[in-house]
Every structure is written in structure tokens, then in C-alpha cells.
Subunit: 198 residues, 2 copies
Amino acid sequence: MRPYDERFTALLSHAARVFAGRGYDRTSMRDLAAASGMSLAGIYYYVRGKEDLLYHIQERCFTQVIDGAEAALQPAVDPEDRLAEFIKHHVTFFAAHMPEMKVLSHEAQALSGERLRKVNHIKRRYVNLLERLLKDVAPERLPLERSAATYALFGMMNWIYNWYDPAGALDAGALADLLIRIFLGGFAEARSPVTGGS
Amino acid sequence: MRPYDERFTALLSHAARVFAGRGYDRTSMRDLAAASGMSLAGIYYYVRGKEDLLYHIQERCFTQVIDGAEAALQPAVDPEDRLAEFIKHHVTFFAAHMPEMKVLSHEAQALSGERLRKVNHIKRRYVNLLERLLKDVAPERLPLERSAATYALFGMMNWIYNWYDPAGALDAGALADLLIRIFLGGFAEARSPVTGGS
DNA sequence: TCATAATTCGAACGATCGTTCGAAAACCGC
DNA sequence: GCGGTTTTCGAACGATCGTTCGAATTATGA
């Protein structure tokens, strides 16, 4: 039953590309059929429906990015190194899986019910992972600030899908290094004017 | 002809709130009629259609945010101060006009043709404005890095609509200060390891 | 008070959507 | 080559969409 899985994966890949290009809602099941070389009805052999298709794209991609991040953090021990590794992995993974990551970042509202609950659960795990890294880098910061800084960093990284071209002059590694320098320099070094150290 | 303008503005405001909540594509003209207290057909007296409604929301909001930014920059002369003023204005404006700014940030793909061209033209003006500010802060950076840093900063700021609650414990001014410290500290102070100062 | 313009709306249209169903086709172990 | 399972698909359904149109209603100015 290997060819089934391969065709299922190919369907998800084609669908992710079309979703990323035209947007989830503006994409019709007929568009997906044309893009994947299947018939309209044939898609329903692999998936319960359109929303189920989006769910599987998001669930697979999110699981991959979490597993990859944990693996990338494994060797690093210094807090700043670990944060840098997280950013580097997220950005390079984003650049390497642009369609899926755009769908993950941009179509978060499109799911509902149990599917939304499951994806949000994975998302919370991922956000908590980064928030713990920030706590190790700057333990003196207030939780409120740390939480906001977490989302600021995710914003820097996830906004990529709005402008970055993986085939352009800026390669993903250099982009990751730039974001690391910006965030680590500003977050870890620039102390809040009221605290100071304590 | 003042009551006409007031009702038109109210329609745009109601529509922006619904678009922000349910997404542009998932919102039907019947939803907008219910939210604005108008009949379905009545909307078409003020607007050519659904896409025209989205266009007017984006065009008005973008013009406001550009005018406000230029006014906020007026008194500041020091490059870092000017950049800080830009960030502060963008973030506080975002927090004060959440629905419109979310629609502006999240529904950039929904327009087409001439309307898309016009909004993109305004957007380019705004992006160029920030990019010039970054050039004054860090003249030694390569244009490629400066462009990426511009989008990184916009990502930090625009991602707000995914998590920030204006009614929560973190007020907009404090959030703006945090983003200023993060970006200014990391971008202006952490020099690229290869350049150093020309 | 009346004609004219401005504004609102019920009803309906054609188009497109996601989904279903039963049959046909392709594949497989024997 | 045959029986059963897996996979594909044409055709159609009901629902919902954005939009239109002509009439009804309300405001305006003489």
C-alpha cells in the first residue's frame, strides 16, 4: 500500500501549491483536480473533503517543523545558541517548504471544529517551545514582554511568505543569520530601561 | 451630501469588522447586509460590489497610515528617533484600527486588476518610506540586507493581528516600545560580522 | 402641495461551489 | 483468465454566492 501513500502525499503537495497561490477559499475542488491530474470525484477517495485536505497539509507540515526544530536544538546547550538554532531551522524550513508553510501561516482561520482544535494544539506546543528558549536567554524579562517578544519573532519569520523569493539573491541561510542578528541583538542585549539587571 | 458620506463610512467600518472576523472570502454580501443594518441590494447603492468594498477599506486605511506616519516623522531629526517614531506610529495605529489593518495585512491577495495596482502603489510608497529610514540608521548595510530588514520589521509589526488584544494587559505604547528596543537594538547595534564599517 | 431626486429593498437570475453516487476501469493474487 | 479489491470518474444534486432590476419609499426644494 505504498503507491497509495505516494499519491496521497502528491495530492497534498499539489493542493498546498494551489492553496498558497490562490488562497484556500478562492481555490475550488475543480482547481485542485486540474492541478493534481485527478478527476474532481477522485480527490474524495483520498480525503473527506476540502477542509480535510487543508487539515492534512497543516498537520503534516506542523509536525515536521516541530520534529525538525527539536532535532536542531539537540546539540546546542548555550541559550543564545539554542535560540539561534531554532531561528535558523524555522527560516530554512520555511524557505524549503514555502507553499505548505504559507498555508500554515496564512490559512489558520480556515479550519473549524475538531480539526482547528488539533492544529491549535500543535501550534501551542511550538509557541511554548520558543517561549521557553526566550526565557533561558533573558530570564529577567516579564512574562508579558517575553510572550510579546515570542510573537514578534514569529512575525519576523512567518511574514517571509509575503516577500521572500527562495530563488532570489538572498539565500535562506543568510536571511536566517540576519534575523538572528536582529532579534538576538535587540532582545538579549537591549535591556529594559526600568529593570537594568536585578 | 454629508449624511451619504457618513453612511458610506459606517458601511466600510462594519464591513471591515466582518472581513476581519470571518475573512474576506468567507464573508457573504448577506453577512455584510446583516452587520450594517442594510438590505442586500442597498449595499450596491454605495459600492460597485464586494471587491470594491474591500478596495475602499484598504485604500482609506493605507492613506491614513501613510499620512499619519509622515506627520509623526515631521518633528524628529535623529535617524534612530525617526525610526522609533515610525514604529510607534505604525503599532499604535494598528492597535487603534485593528479590523482595517488586519484586512489590509491579511487580504492583500484578494484584490485584482486596477484596484490591486492602486493599492500596491500605495504600499510601495510606504515600504520605501521605511526603507529610507533604515538607510539613515545603518548606511553601511548592503541594500539586500536593508530590504530584508525592512520586511522583517514589517513582519514583526503586522503579525500583531494574529495575537495582540488591544483590550489586554499590554497597551499599544508598551508594545511599540518593545518592538523598537528589539529592532533598533539588533539592527542598529549588531553590525554585520563581515563589514564592520567600510 | 407637488414634482423631482435620492435612497432602500424584495425578488429573482445565472454561475459556481462542495459533495455524492453508481458504474467503469485498473490492479492483483491465484 | 478469473473473482475480488482498489482506484477512478462522469454526471448530477442542492446550496450558496454576487449581482441585477424595477418598484417602493423617503427626503428635497420650489
